[in-house]
């Protein structure tokens, strides 16, 4: 699997890693039927962590630093769910802004030649 945008499409996930994530997600969906509702949030951020771990194995040039830092933050704070739920919820509320900023940074630093609609 490669990134679909950018000037240098890079492998970010092998087929085995993608299947590992696929299994994790569908199993999480099943067990979410019987687990406390807030566990679902944990499964999603844990999946995000696993995805970042796979991506880091491919040394993504443009976002390595962000992924390394954000994965460490996710892995530290996701387990707060078990003993400090309010702090965990605060982390969930703050996390999207960090990812959004990285998405935006990537767009702004992409080569002009990368966009399909840019001549």
């Amino acid at each position: 699997m490669t990134s679909s945008e950018g000037d240098s499409p890079q492998m970010v996930l092998t087929e085995d890693q993608a299947f590992g994530l696929l299994a994790f997600l569908v199993c999480s969906a099943e067990i979410s039927l019987v687990e406390p509702t807030y566990y679902g949030t944990f499964r999603l951020v844990d999946a995000a962590s696993r995805l970042m771990g796979f991506m880091l194995e491919h040394d993504p040039e443009r976002s390595h630093e962000f992924l390394e830092r954000f994965k460490e933050e996710v892995d530290t704070k996701k387990v707060w769910m078990m003993w400090d739920r309010e702090a965990y919820y605060d982390f969930l509320r703050s996390a999207p802004a960090a990812v959004a900023a990285e998405v935006k940074r990537r767009e702004e630093t992409a080569s002009p030649a990368a966009g399909d609609d840019q001549a």
């Binding site: 299994a23 999480s28 099943e30 067990i31 003993w83 400090d84």
Partner: protein
């Protein structure tokens, strides 16, 4: 029970029980077969409703199988050196004429066997962590289980890795629970005799 049987003192037993914690980080050192036998021996001596023993304990050490089980177990946050799966044997349950859909004792027996194994792991200086967040159907495939064996509960086992730095609790973190908080005497709500 024989009066001459050596027993740990109440203080020793309570110390063991109070010092056990779940462990989610292990070294790569394998768990010995003797230790795993001690754990399943402890499980065997757990309470079993009606002395019916409808559960089996499947010991898994193959890293490839453990990896596959973890793939369908979102609650297994790390890959352990060993895994013990508590299975309900539906054929044994049928021989006992059990109505599993109504039989809560089945779950109690899973719990008592699990607790015995975790305490034995702790006594052996091993770390363990129960995993209930897994796909039963997915685990059955990964473990090549026949249809009459239902995976109920996973216990990951290994030698504990060095403990991470102590966590800092926020102001809203729940306060530690004492036995007093959970115990009533004679009437609901009365905490002390």
């Amino acid at each position: 029970m024989s009066g001459s049987m050596a027993r740990p003192s109440p203080e020793q037993l309570l110390t063991l029980l109070k010092s056990r914690r779940v462990c989610r980080s292990f070294t790569e050192e394998p768990v010995s077969d003797d230790d795993l036998r001690m754990m399943t021996e402890a499980a065997r001596w757990a309470t079993s409703a009606g002395n019916r023993h409808i559960h089996k304990f499947l010991v898994v050490r193959d890293p490839a199988v453990i990896h596959n089980v973890r793939t369908v177990s979102p609650g297994m946050l790390t890959a352990p050196p060993a895994l013990i799966v508590i299975l309900t044997d539906l054929e044994a349950a049928a021989r006992e004429s059990l109505q599993l859909e109504h039989d809560h004792a089945n779950w109690m027996d899973v719990g008592t066997a699990a607790m015995n194994m975790m305490n034995m792991a702790h006594a052996l200086s091993l770390g363990s962590c129960p995993v209930t967040s897994f796909s039963r159907s997915g685990a059955a495939v990964m473990l090549d289980l026949p249809p009459h064996l239902i995976p109920e509960w996973l216990l990951i086992v290994g030698h504990p890795a060095p403990a991470p730095r102590p966590r800092r609790l926020g102001a809203n973190a729940p306060k530690p629970v004492a036995a007093r908080d959970l115990t009533w005497w004679e009437q609901p709500g009365r905490h002390e005799p």
